[in-house]
Symmetry: D2
Subunit: 500 residues, 4 copies
């Protein structure tokens, strides 16, 4: 499909795509594909007010009925999977297979959220007082602001929105200014769902804010936004956290990762090789869960690393819409510069760089295609403590597993991690209290590509938030502890006596 | 028991109680009872470093064994209940019955935590990939800083410590500078437990920081403190949240409450009367869950409020150590001034004040005894949106339950709330998504006096944290999502194809 | 739609509907609508063997993929809702609205089960031994035999099948010999789903056994059937339990109910009236949750019972396919005789009968239409301890709630129960440990019409099984407790010393 | 300690120990140590009636208060650990270390149950109807009959009793007629706890039935016994199940095991060796979790089995009260005969027997000391499908893990199992849906010695029951699903329309 066909298939009209001030470029060839109108802060506040009105209605719609909304959303997404997947690719540059994968993740979380809509389990709890019933229920929280990053333009919204909607919270979405089109396309889908759903869906149940950082700040500043779920860089997360701390508002933060793999002597190297390549160069190294650090036991280093360098050399780089491409472009020229800079620093710190540098410069000069880089490092130096959003894989050696785990844990980020080993003593140690300090720790698979059934997120500078599966839905609700006295006495807890 | 007997029974030595710069006064008569040495920030950092070393050891002690530590702590507290209860009374001024209740709460949470120590349940989760096992485990988090307030000098520490210790986290406690003695006495108990427990208990498992605000800041600033659990005022909570947002650290905040009771026409007024008095004047109105706002249906207003005023007039005010006393002193003269000021403002806003003003001025002039106040208000005016830490109960009328709930929810705090009604339609509505917006919502009992089995905490400016029962223990651990591939294939989630 | 149109719309072919020995009559007019071939016991054993082979494959299909099968089943049921609902009405005689409701319940449980397919949560558990990980997982159980009754010909199958399939268990269905057509129609739907689903769905994943009691016995006798879930009468349940006890096999039993409503003085009588009529005469009194006993406080007896008798007199009885009908026929003449007999006994025990007796005898003589009956009883006599599957409602008076609860609990069955009261003290007492002894206890709704989100089933002679929501899915899986030692030591639990 | 000192320390009086018709022999030397009065069936029925009265009171005592009872029980058991442990050894013959371990298990479950007493969590559940609240609560069940076996004379009672008591169920205990003394000693401890506890503990809260099979039948026959939890042989379990099926009563069955270990090529053989010996000869092979089948990979067979034979030859057999003894006596001469018979059959089926036969015949002729036996088998023959309650370990070879798992699963019992392997692919497969079919499956530890935190029990002929940790407590309570309509409407589930 051509770029214009993809845009047409997205349902966005010419009028919507033009006439504004926010220029949208496709990383595929660097060309401008739209120029969108941006919202003002005042408009944002109006939209928040509408969302709050929606909340007052939506919270009393029974949760299974709210689940039906999300079920319909899932059905629409199934219908639009190819069209939306292609738009994802066009707008953010990831290969089409990954674009489809992102939409599939949206579908999966909708299915999951539908099931949740008949659960949202609180507890009934044994009370210490006769004639008293104690319980805990979970109630809708309020308007949920969702801030997303360019690299996953749609799935994280859906992780948040599917849960938030089922939990009774309207959603206002501030997408990256680099990927607003997919957001608008998803909003169109939501609009269709609203129509099918009927009157129970209040006006403003889902909304999109198009613009820049000031709109994110409009969300954090407005007390009617009960919750901000933000995906992005650590500085962005710090800013959101600082803003929200002023009003003691709630956040779910999914920030940077600096994800490692430990390759143990007993590892299946063939499998490790494939996992490394997918994890390190998938999405051109721009996943928050991208593999960035490879910690290889000295005994298998020589059996693995040269093969890896060779595999890198043969990777098909090019148009992410073309079949067969495995490495698409970086999002923009800034990303290319950051990559170049990091490689220079790595070399300065003793690293040996394989690959790197711009690719397809003649044919795609306006775009930011690069050769993925492997950097053999003498140790875990300063650059390795930073997340550079590009396909750079640092490789270091280790002698003992304890040392490898220490290296894995020595960075400020705490998102994802993995070990390749067939030794259960090693794998279980890696997953234990004395093992990886990340929110995600895998065995014999890479650090990326989480299933939606587990809770997704990480510790330390990654921000501590959890999205998606397990009991992540609790982040979107408020908990209420109830004690009901149905007796004719008034005993006090802890056996206190207080007789007036 | 005399004050000196109480001090002696606490196990604190003369040397410990004297020679420092932090003067401790008892609110019972305003006299100085100790002058303690304060820690410097440098010492605090050393103690944190020790605690971190303790963490590295303690996290690998099996949780049920950690539970045994807490069981022994509970046993020691049982033995020391009277001595510690009396010291609580001496230091913070609550009546002895409440002092005992606070220790009982410590004991209860220990029992509960012991049970938890064989649970700390994560999940095994169905994976979408063949030959893959997915699960979620909870691991120790790191050093836990606990900041507590004068009004509950010991129980909140224990809510935090019992859970934190079982969860694998050493605890550093910064008590209120107004109530450091009880903290030191509890640390003595912990020292004895460590001795009984043996080598598994690392040095620095529990520690106490004596001093002022700078020590709290030492905790929030130090990245080795993984978690701060802070109880206190909203400004204090905001400061902690802002500090922690800089390093994206974790907090559990239990801040101010502004708790209301709705009295419906069908209420059992006799029972309501008793609940109101205990909730409003217990701990001399200095509980975070103290009843501060009484929202009475117009049909029962006249049957209730005059009786309440009369009951207040007969309350025994005096030495909290004396049997029969129900109202002890405020913590200090500042609290008395704040109460006076609030009553002046309330009158300015149209209120009719019953009671108020200093009590026992002749006999206890250095102390801050007061007459609890009832203020009949024409509506929910500005003063009613503020938490004044004193026994002031504002009373307003309502016509419809929806209106009463709106008033209840209109304040910035969201800790505790209750309704007195025998109508199940009213009580369930009050507990529903459209009802109280507080973390605690009770029926036919007052807002205070929570059992430890439920999660304790509140929404909005109350800070969102939860302590004590239910799954509050999760706040002290880090969650890890694991996927283990035990097959010989490497399928990707969401069915993505990526073949190198 | 005519009967033949309904049959045609079901997808069953002429060849399938004729030529056998099992005559199927519609209770609508008593006419024969099919004559089906019956399976032999030998065929049943072959089908079980096939199902067991299916199990060995299906158990290793990832649960979320199994969930996709159930999602597709739900989609097909949405498409066939009207056709299948009409067939339900034709075959078992319940009114079309209830036929649709039954299919809706199938759809709902499919949605719920899809969500479960990414959960099936076991636990990770804190181990008392260093270097040990403890957890609990749930695994597929084996072939699940489902035995259903005529009155809910399709929904209970789906409650069981949706969960069993997601849990990894193939299903063999033995429907009532009175309602085999709907079972065959559902199997057709399953066949279509299998085709869409592809090779992951093994042959024999769902199967239907057409015939009589010997086929049920073939299921209970065969050790390859790991689990029998049976809905029906108490004698049937006892027989299944006795058979399964021989091989220590697992059962889920949903047997008789003898459901009561308590109407308290504070009840909303208007609402109670409507709830009573729906609960007592819906499905012509042939629900397992049908209201059979009405326990009315003496103070409201006269305000309620005469109105109820009057409402009964005006109920539209007739063709269940016709719009406006609220009372369709009994299943057959035997049911009519049983009703007559019960009314005779009730009179002998002092009851005053309102209504009762055959209706529409001239026009529908071959069918078993009846006038629903209300019987005012002097006390809870012998007949009231029995479940007569017909629209008979016994009414007794009570003085105190304790007495009413005692009456409610005095029967051998323990399925469903309810109270109409607006007094929260009464409603909570009714739901407490000292209240109703039934598996279901409702407030201000009737005993029937459960949502699929809760666990469905009852105690005592009702058999103790639970189906549908909550953690009922555990009944379809086997639990495994795992301890993994990843250390190099071999400590024993409980600190036992045993050194060789 | 001498036998008489042990008896004296147990608190049982001379009068209690003599004068009856039930002769109690110690397996230590075969001598008679007591002659107890037996209860009649009529007395049993009276005791059940008393227990039912106790139930009516106990169910309304708040669960945390019930937990306090169990906490006091745990404290008493701590005090009596040595005395009771010695009596266990004297009466059932297990070595003193194991006697202590059994009491420790009682203490552990008490600690766990105390924690549970503030949980007993049901669920609050999202309802599909507006103005409706759905929840699920767990209520006390009724009198719990506990039937125990000689080999664990006290711990299984406590697993059941600690949970049952916390759950609100009085307990009647029918111990093995071979080990009634420990039961009486435990009842003495309970009596002391009742005294400390005060009036909340009703008469008959725990009771012991001394006698034979007819008393077990008295429990199964009496409808006031809501639940039977029985530990013992498969025939006993079948009888209990058949009896209870008649009245559709509830059972928890812990029956026979036939537990296997798979030793893989990658296993730590040193560790395996120790685990095998403890699991196979501990309690003289009379644990339900005793290792009975050893499935060894052909590549390590020769490295393991000869060492094992040698280790067996050196095992210290003798007086279980003597320090250093690892193998005490069988319970009686019948057990010895059964062992001899099994070895004869094993030889007939091609086995090579190492060890076996009576030991210490001269010195302890009246007792049944034996040499533990290892039998190398050519394949898994008929005798290996049977549980012989004696220290016989059958050893077979395997080639592939799938084959080993098939052998492991091919027996009718399904209690415990384990694998020794360091290969995570093998260990996870063993724990997967396609792995062990047992209720317990371990890695790198033996099949015996479960911690109380996990659910204990097994599948197939083992009976399906679960005791001890996880949510096993649910087996002692009845579940109630509640829907509360607090609206003024009466919507029906599934959207059914039914307007009168």
């Amino acid at each position: 499909m051509s770029h214009s066909e993809i845009l047409a298939a997205s349902g966005l009209t010419e009028a919507e795509l033009t006439g504004g001030t926010l220029a949208v470029h496709t990383p595929v060839d660097g060309s401008e594909i739209a120029r969108l109108a941006m919202h003002s802060v005042a408009e944002a506040d109006e939209m928040i007010a509408t969302a709050h009105e929606a909340f007052l209605q939506w919270r009393t719609v029974p949760a299974p009925r709210r689940g039906e909304f999300v079920r319909l959303l899932g059905e629409e997404l199934r219908r639009e999977k190819e069209a939306l997947g292609a738009l994802v690719t066009l707008e953010c540059g990831k290969i089409y297979q990954e674009g489809l994968g992102e939409v599939q993740e949206m579908i999966d979380i909708c299915d999951f959220a539908v099931g949740l809509s008949r659960q949202l389990y609180g507890l009934t709890i044994a009370s210490e007082r006769p004639g008293h019933a104690m319980r805990e229920t979970w109630h809708p929280m309020g308007v949920c602001g969702v801030i997303t990053a360019f690299n996953f333009p749609v799935a994280p919204w859906c992780w948040n929105a599917a849960l938030a909607l089922v939990c009774g919270d309207p959603v206002i979405w501030k997408p990256s200014e680099k990927t607003p089109l997919t957001a608008l396309a998803v909003q169109k889908i939501c609009d269709r769902v609203c129509e099918q759903f009927g009157d129970d869906a209040p006006k403003g149940l889902t909304q999109v804010l198009i613009g820049e950082r000031d709109l994110g700040e409009a969300l954090t500043a407005n007390p009617k936004v009960a919750l901000i779920s933000a995906t992005g860089s650590v500085p962005m997360g710090r800013a959101v956290a600082a803003d929200m701390s002023k009003r003691l508002g709630r956040t779910i933060l999914e920030l940077g990762g600096n994800n490692a793999m430990i390759v143990a002597p007993s590892a299946d190297l063939e499998m490790a090789l494939r996992a490394i390549v997918f994890s390190a160069v998938g999405t051109a190294g721009q996943r928050c869960t991208t593999l960035r650090r490879l910690i290889v036991h000295e005994d298998v280093y020589d059996a693995l690393v040269p093969r890896l360098v060779k595999a890198y050399a043969g990777l098909p780089i090019g148009d992410p819409l073309a079949e067969g491409t495995l490495v698409g472009p970086l999002i923009d020229q800034d990303a290319l510069s950051a990559m170049d800079k990091a490689l220079v620093q790595a070399q300065a710190e003793g690293g040996t760089v394989h690959g790197g540098g711009q690719a397809l410069a003649e044919s795609h000069g306006a775009a930011a295609y690069v050769n993925p880089a492997i950097v053999e490092m003498p140790g875990q130096s300063a650059i390795m403590h930073h997340e550079t959003f590009a396909p750079i894989l640092y490789v270091v050696k280790y002698q003992s597993l304890e040392q490898a785990i220490d290296m894995q844990n020595a960075v400020p980020q705490g998102l994802s991690s993995c070990i390749f080993s067939t030794d259960v003593r090693e794998t279980e140690l890696f997953l234990s209290a004395a093992g990886s300090d990340c929110g995600i720790a895998n065995v014999n698979i890479g650090p990326s590509g989480a299933e939606i059934g587990g809770a997704f997120g990480g510790e330390k500078e990654t921000g501590g938030g959890r999205e998606s599966g397990s009991d992540a839905w609790k982040g979107y609700m408020r908990r209420q502890t109830n004690t009901v006295n149905y007796s004719r006495e008034l005993p006090l807890a802890q056996g206190i006596k207080f007789d007036i």
